[in-house]
């Protein structure tokens, strides 16, 4: 078996943890498996490097930032190879150049285009554990690139696909994917399995232990993922195309209390209004989450959307600067709201799921401010103080 194992920055944060990860990898190696390990930068190293850079240049070029940040994973992989050697096992570390890991040249947000497998296979044939830098790549001109948030997960999945691995294990500080955040919902249970699509919705909702892009890539290449803890031997959660599920038709409940709702009331009901509004916000790099448009007074419409709380002020100021006072009646901002979502294939198959959620919230006395749905997700906006209550009510309603 060829196993790709990915460990995040916390899992390699110090000497003891590095040795712990080394031992886990060696267990698989000694059973006769080929083992490829993907690592992030140690603990807070990436943050420290960013701080160092911004101290010298508040607005550093992305090209040079990627050049700087890639030292982080290189440090991790070299130390891990030393740790495995110390435990008596042959190992070799490879960075993005050495693999090579070809990406687009979008510094700080590159996409993997192609992975050369010759070097990796060659080292595996020599019965070495191969330790590869996550998060980083090289563009056509041999500049370093990085893959953005969650990039190491993406590296692991892409490697698993390129190497035709039998398994891709993503190790995190939680022991799997839960039906809800256990810190908020007492009855939350670990899922044995979840589909790619459900995982994607969970990730988007801020509840994900995996980054979106890595799940998309896994779905595209049919790479079966296992999410598990680097600290325990628990089985973890398998992410795959289809799952067998019992009576609960939904896979989980997600909550995100970092949301602000902005409503532009009394906009002229003419074509292109929505485009103009969101275009100007996009130019200011305001990240829009849920968008709703509803009919207002005759000839008018209201547009509501949510943003992260830190972006609310910028969004409102941008809108007021951009639009003349005749364009709208009022802009309404509520910063203390939260999103609560249910996610599951069941939503696609059975009517009434959304209604069951709304009923549960009604019975819990939670007022719904906005509703948005996708094929496998129902999201409601509630007051921030009601979030946990709403999550528990929804969780219980679906007997998760």
């Amino acid at each position: 078996m060829l196993i790709v194992k990915k460990f995040g920055g916390t899992s390699v944060g110090n000497k003891e943890r590095i040795l712990n990860v080394a031992k886990r990898c060696i267990e698989d190696y000694e059973k006769g498996n080929d083992v490829v390990v993907v690592l992030s930068a140690m603990g807070k190293m990436t943050d420290d490097l960013i701080k160092m850079a911004k101290d010298i240049n508040p607005n550093p070029s992305k090209r040079e930032m990627d050049m700087l940040l890639t030292t982080g994973e290189q440090t991790s992989v070299a130390l891990m190879a030393m740790a495995m050697n110390a435990l008596g096992v042959p190992a070799v570390s490879l960075n993005a150049f050495q693999v090579a890991m070809h990406t687009t040249h979008a510094y700080s947000n590159a996409r993997i285009k192609r992975i050369d497998t010759d070097r990796v296979n060659n080292e595996l044939e020599q019965r070495k554990i191969v330790i590869i830098t996550g998060f980083q790549g090289v563009d056509r001109n041999e500049n370093y690139t990085t893959l953005g948030r969650g990039g190491s997960d993406t590296t692991a999945v892409a490697l698993a696909a390129a190497l035709n691995a039998d398994s891709c294990e993503i190790y995190t500080d939680v022991d799997g994917v839960y039906t809800a955040d256990p810190r908020k919902v007492e009855n939350a249970k670990k899922l044995k399995e979840i589909t790619y699509d459900e995982m994607l919705e969970m990730a988007t909702l801020g509840a994900g232990v995996l980054h979106n892009r890595s799940v998309e890539l896994a779905k595209k290449h049919g790479v079966q993922l296992v999410v598990r803890s680097s600290l325990t031997k628990e089985e973890g959660t398998v992410v795959k195309e289809r799952v067998a599920r019992g009576k609960s038709e939904i896979s989980g409940v997600a909550g995100d209390d970092d949301a602000a709702r902005i409503a532009i009331l009394g906009l002229e009901d003419t074509p292109g209004v929505a485009f103009k509004v969101f275009n100007v916000l996009a130019k200011k790099n305001v990240n829009i989450d849920i968008i709703l448009q509803s009919v207002g007074e005759p000839g008018k419409k209201d547009i509501s959307f949510t943003v992260k709380q830190e972006d609310a002020e910028l969004a409102v100021n941008t809108l007021r600067d951009y639009m003349s006072e005749d364009d709208y009646r009022d802009i309404d901002v509520t910063t203390n709201v939260a999103k609560v979502s249910i996610v599951g294939r069941g939503l696609k198959d059975h009517a009434g799921m959304a209604a069951r959620m709304f009923e549960a919230l009604y019975e819990a006395g939670v007022n719904i401010r906005m509703i948005s749905t996708s094929e496998i997700r129902v999201t409601v906006i509630v007051e921030e103080k009601d979030m946990v209550k709403a999550m528990n009510a929804a969780h219980d309603a679906f007997e998760l």
Copy 2:
């Protein structure tokens, strides 16, 4: 003009120093010159990385050590590019891969074989300052290598040769090469010029501000070096093939108090004895400095040599383990000795130089324990406590 400028770890040890170096480079750039900058790792970063590694594996593989250490210079060059950008000048950082800097595959002690100049020239043509990692290279199989002590100087010289640079400036924390260490010899003066050969002897004697290999390489390719301070605007010392010199026929006096003298007395006077002695020491990685062999009792010989003080115990134990008691009469160790040397072309041209030194030491009341000479150097071993006195006496004798 194409100028290669090399700055050591102290010169880029923190934000202020990085910005200071950036400004100096920009001065040359703004005069219309092409500027290539070679950097070492920041301050104590290399030492910190070595410590981190040895904590995980007391005997780390050299391949992985080089993989780890190369992150040091990469950090420096990325931050320097950001600093230059912050000062409004286009700059790009390149590591050994990106250049590319081809070396042998002797990890931790590689030699530069060939430098590709396309990428560097291309960036220069775009009027960017090009900042390159010193100390590191890549072998034929794309593994990282490092060049050993003083490696960044070698990188700078090799780049200057490959790029056909008009000037190669080595910036250090002293403002040039002195006739003696100014902390020890009050009348020490900065040299305007020194030959490669003299510089090589000075380097070997521990008084060098430049590493041997870089001077050898400069001599081989006729690269004229300038040694100067990164903190002042002083002119520095030029290192080249021939120099015009006044009445002083020697260029300097060097002292090294980290020496121990070991004498093996009464060895059998048969062929191969010296070989066996030094072979067994080499295997234990004991670095031998000066070797003297003299005739002892009839049929016997004495061999004396110097080592660094920290190696003295290992050397003696190795010899005692290796040789049977019949092989020699005694082993004599003196750990508190020092080397004092005079270096200069004059020694080759004029007789009596050595004698003048011995006379000066005699008059200063310094007892000479050993003497060793090369074409342009005379070295004496004296008691450690006499070193500074001996250096001053020699310095005065030659009216430096």
